[in-house]
């Protein structure tokens, strides 16, 4: 019993330390960080300045707004496509079903780095480079298949008898999906939405490649632009990192239960 707590405490310390250190670094002055001594605690008097430093020292609010736009757009588009596709996979046997299912899975294997060049060419033609909508479209290609997988698993658990009864009452397929199946699978929709949101909030490779204008960068690219750049003071950089991390972490903690349920529905059943 003792050993369990020691092991857990050690694991928790390793898991939490880097995030704690981000906060500590954000509240310390440049001179303190490079002065040769280690300050183990955050300077609580400067906690309030974390926000102002990030906002004044970098276009962090602009970048966060862009990230939120991309993440929200990706979530809505992925879910709209995924709900319909999941319903087809869960309720019908049709020619091409196997190929479709495989194609959805195969996108998990696709290295973004391989698709990024062809996508670049397509977006160049469509005028979607340096455009936040381009990121929404690109991210959806990776977020939507995961959403289909999660939602289909949940739909498989809804008894068909309810729909058969509705069919007798002259209910259309689309109405059944909307009025019967969707309300019953709401938790899986939440899980899929959260994952899609997270993936696109964090996404870096497409953002880094497609977005040129600094005011159109999402926060992932904005933050990464500080790597190897020594002009912006480190506390400012870390303040920006804190500002980018806090919404994701808070959001995650709020919805954690749902994500876990959605994730495991697929993985545990295998």
């Amino acid at each position: 019993m003792k050993l369990r707590f020691i092991a857990l405490a050690a694991l928790a310390a390793v898991a939490g330390f880097p995030l704690y250190w981000m906060l500590v670094t954000a509240t310390r002055g440049q001179d303190e960080l490079f002065g040769g001594d280690v300050h183990w605690l955050p300077d609580v008097t400067r906690l309030g300045q974390v926000f102002t430093a990030a906002v004044d020292g970098a276009p962090m609010l602009r970048w966060l707004t862009n990230s939120a736009f991309v993440a929200a757009g990706t979530t809505v588009l992925s879910l709209a496509l995924a709900v319909l596709a999941a319903y087809a996979l869960s309720r019908f046997s049709f020619r091409g079903r196997g190929v479709f299912g495989f194609a959805l899975f195969a996108t998990q294997m696709l290295p973004e780095a391989l698709v990024v060049v062809p996508l670049y060419a397509i977006f160049l033609t469509l005028g979607l480079l340096n455009n936040l909508w381009g990121l929404v479209l690109g991210n959806t290609a990776f977020a939507m298949p995961v959403a289909v997988w999660i939602i289909k698993t949940a739909m498989d658990g809804v008894p068909r008898e309810i729909e058969e009864a509705a069919a007798l009452d002259g209910c259309s397929r689309y109405a059944m999906l909307r009025r019967i199946v969707l309300p019953l699978t709401a938790p899986s929709l939440a899980a899929a939405a959260v994952l899609a949101f997270f993936d696109s909030w964090n996404e870096f490779l497409l953002a880094n490649t497609f977005m040129v204008d600094e005011e159109k960068w999402p926060a992932s690219k904005g933050l990464a632009s500080f790597v190897g750049e020594f002009v912006t003071p480190l506390p400012t950089v870390m303040s920006a990192a804190v500002l980018f991390t806090v919404p994701a972490v808070v959001f995650f903690l709020l919805v954690q239960r749902h994500i876990v349920a959605g994730l495991t529905a697929g993985a545990v059943k295998g």
Binding site: R4, A7, L8, L11, A12, A15, G16, P18, L19, W21, M22, F34, V38, L81, A85, A88, L89, R91, F94, F100, A103, L104, M109, L110, P111, E112, A113, L114, V115, V116, V117, P118, L119, A121, I122, L124, G138, T140, A141, M144, R173, W201, F204, L205, S220, K221, L223, A224, V227, V237, M238, A241, F244, T245, A248, L263, T264, A267, V268, G270
Partner: protein, 290 residues
Amino acid sequence: MRAERLAPYVFASAAALYLLAFAAGPLLDGVWLSFTDTKLLDPTGGEWIGTDNYTDLFADSRFAGTLGVTLIYALSTVVGALLVGTFGAVLLDKAFRGRTALRALLTLPWAAPTVAVTLIFVWIFNNDNGVLNHASEAAGLGRHGWLTAYALATVTAVSVWKVFPFVLLVVLAALQSVPKDLVESARIDGAGPARVFRSVTWPFLVPTLRVVALLMTIWSFRRFEIIWLLTQGGPVDRTTTLVIDVYRQAFLDSDLGRSAATGAVGLVLSAIATVAYALTERHSTAKDLA
């Protein structure tokens, strides 16, 4: 009735067309690029050169190194994440005060945005002022170039740190689906904790671990930003995985053909992992039935 036959196609069409346009299309385009000499500055002006990119690639000794780094990185990340994640899940499988809070704390690495996390690690590993070298020096172990001398090990450790919570959450859910009465009756029959784990719990975990291992492997082959932002593939290619090479060849060397060929090799690796997974699953299902 006819409407009912068409219905699945109507429902699936939007997603299918989408995948065709934004995943399958670009993928095929990428494969085609790998047989051309396309350059970044003239992305439509490439000419068909057959398998030259591939023969060049396999003749290049650097490529063997890249392949080796990719395999070592993927293998150690997968094994590390599975070990730490399963270990954590087993520790959390018992109800105790503060379990929910601890579980939340242990999943933070997964929730935090990768780019933000990588930035703080760069600072933690900083040679002169990083906290790790301060601590290591204070402990009498001296200073080390974490991102130079031990680059691959460090990059792997950061990756394990980032993804082990996923393993933990999924394995924890699997553990909690183990029927309690089965565990109970094994205990009554005199089985110790180790024996219960091996004979009762483990068989329930195996299918889950297999899926998680597959996902982890595929994700390791794909992972970009952790490595790119920590080391950019350096020093001297020691952390250059296939994906890093794909990016470098395309956007630094402007050689889209060669980059696509490298990417295709990465895709083949993922496909091999998937086939291996399918085979072991079929094998074990056959064993269960026998």
